[in-house]
Amino acid sequence: MLLDYDRLGFWRWILVAIGVVVMLFLLLPILFIAALSFGDSQWLVFPPPGWTLQWYEQLLTDPVWLNSLFTSAKVAVIVTVLSVVLGLLAALGLARSKFFGKSALQAFFLTPMVLPVVVLAVALYAFFLKLGLTGTLTGFVIGHLIIALPFSIITIGNSLQSFDPALEDAAMICGAGPLEVKWRVTLPAIRLGMFAAAIFSFLISWDEVVLSIFMASPTLQTLPVLIWSTLRQDLTPVIAAASTLLVAFTIVLMLLASLLKKGTRS
């Protein structure tokens, strides 16, 4: 192609420079916080004068931090399961049927993606106050599910699109009933899309902070909320340790997702 990287000549060095700057800009804060989490300075001095694991020890022995970690994981797992199941049902419905208002419904399903999260959070907060759902696990799950679901619907919908419905006809004529067809043919064929949807949903819930701040109570809060609220009171390297854990887990899941993507292509 005319705009191939190799043909750019001098310009490509400018592109490389921009790329490096952007990468540093994105990565440095994370590397910085990771380094601090292992540093032995109480005051987050950089570069750290010495190295220690004591902040991790504190983090993993303090019941408040452990509770929030546990809450985060619980919410994320429930959201993941619900998001994949509901996303699958919605995607199947959208892909396989024709009805009046289908494109409107499709757009409606995706609104949480474009709506400012804080607007959604305020609205949900006001609504959940009336229902008594704030500060409950149910409240967290519903809130996170609303923003995770669009990603689920899109990812599963995409993999359904590359699935030939004639395969279902073939399975049917082979003698399989409608449910057995879905279970033995459709679901296995789109399983990578479902895995990707699960990872996205988990990450969205795991990293979510805006909605969670509104949903949280002193006794029930997720890890990002606890980091945020601790940060407002005092600056301790435990926050750095918690953040690093959060990031590490996220990176692992992202790697898994990209491996899966590679798997779908080959």
């Binding site: 030939d164 004639a166 395969l167 006809d169 073939a170 399975a171 049917m172 004529i173 082979c174 003698g175 399989a176 009933g177 409608p178 057995e180 067809v181 033995r184 043919v185 296995p188 064929a189 399983r191």
Partner: protein, 355 residues
């Protein structure tokens, strides 16, 4: 008389205002290879889909061994089907694809294993059990699809243009395989195609579809030698159509008068005297010889000639300026060249007159 194996009775299917098939009726014998032949949109696939259960007819009935098929859900019909696209399950190995219909029937494991081996042997893919469909060629995939469709010994196998995605050489190879499989298993086959050569090569009988109706049913030879309509004559094999006026002579014979006033006798059963018609003669039934026409002989001019190895193809022009195709053995065409005058002949029993 015993009831026919498969009876298609007055099938009609309409979508909104469009009539897809209109009163299609057909009896199929057990073990028969029956082909639905026709251009796209002629209703052949719709008829097949109704037998398969993917579509419901607006009217009509399908009976298998005298029992209605329409009341049976598609997955309970116990019919085999091979599709145009191979429709193998991409996440299952070849062996598991063939085993699929047996697994959903909850057959014992030992039986499944033996049957899969036998079916893969039948389609000559013995060593491919553990391959994934994506690792195989189109021809191989279609063989697996055939094995899967026959694994549960269905009494009826439906095939919807199964070879149209393959190239010519592979197509002929699998056509040959299909004939063998048909002979070995004795399964009744309903086969849909738009390729007349394929239909002639494979079928015991052919039903020619046009605009939602069956134009004619018969063996390939019957359709080729005795077409009952202009459509069938034009769709199967090459043909020359000469405009004529029909004058009835009685006893099923008629005189066909050409635009220049000359006339020949032809086969005509249902024509009113004086009606416009078409006289059809196959190119290989026509002959030309050099010379000038005398009397009722048809004078033509050679416009073009093509050497085809085993035969010679001529394009000749009639006195009313119509171009006709003539095919002859190479040695019979000696003494002719482009521009020369010639006399056109054929035996009257090879002329068919249509409305």
């Amino acid at each position: 008389m015993t009831t026919p194996f498969l009876q298609i009775r007055g099938l009609r299917k309409t979508y909104d205002q469009v009539v897809a098939i209109d009163h299609v009726s057909l009896d199929i014998k057990q073990g028969e290879f029956m082909t639905f032949l026709g251009p796209s949109g002629s209703g052949k696939s719709t008829t097949l889909y109704i037998v398969a259960g993917f579509q419901e007819p607006t009217e009509g009935q399908v009976l298998l061994n005298g029992k209605s098929l329409l009341d049976v859900a598609p997955n309970q019909r116990n019919i085999g089907m091979v599709f145009q696209r191979y429709t193998l399950f991409p996440h299952l190995t070849v062996g598991e694809n063939v085993a699929f219909p047996l697994r959903v029937r909850r057959r014992p494991e030992a039986e499944i294993k033996a049957k899969v081996d036998k079916m893969l042997e039948l389609v000559h893919l013995g060593g491919y059990r553990d391959r994934l469909p994506g690792q195989m060629s189109g021809g191989q995939q279609q063989r697996v699809a055939i094995a899967r469709a026959l694994a549960y010994d269905p009494p009826l196998l439906l095939m919807d243009e199964p070879l149209s995605a393959l190239d010519k050489k592979l197509r002929e190879e699998i056509q040959f395989e299909l004939r063998r499989i048909h002979q070995e298993t004795g399964v009744t086959i309903l086969y849909v195609t738009h390729d007349q050569e394929e239909a002639l090569r494979l079928s015991d009988r052919i039903a020619v579809f046009s605009q939602g109706k069956i134009e004619q049913v018969g063996t390939g030879e019957e359709l080729y030698e005795r077409p009952t309509s202009r459509f069938v004559a034009g769709f199967i094999g090459n043909s020359n159509f000469l405009p004529v006026k029909v004058e009835k002579l009685g006893s099923g014979r008629a005189r066909a008068v050409f635009p220049n006033g000359q006339a020949v006798e032809g086969d005509a059963s249902a024509f009113a005297s004086g009606s416009d018609g078409t006289l059809m003669v196959r190119p290989e039934q026509m002959r030309i010889r050099p010379g000038t026409a005398v009397g009722q002989e048809l004078a033509v001019t050679v416009r073009d000639m093509t050497y085809l190895g085993d035969s010679m193809h001529f394009a000749v022009q009639t006195p009313w300026n119509q171009e006709l195709a003539v095919r002859m053995a190479v040695r019979d065409g000696q003494g002719l060249c482009i521009g020369s005058s010639a006399v056109l002949e054929w035996d009257t029993q090879h002329g068919h007159v249509f409305a």
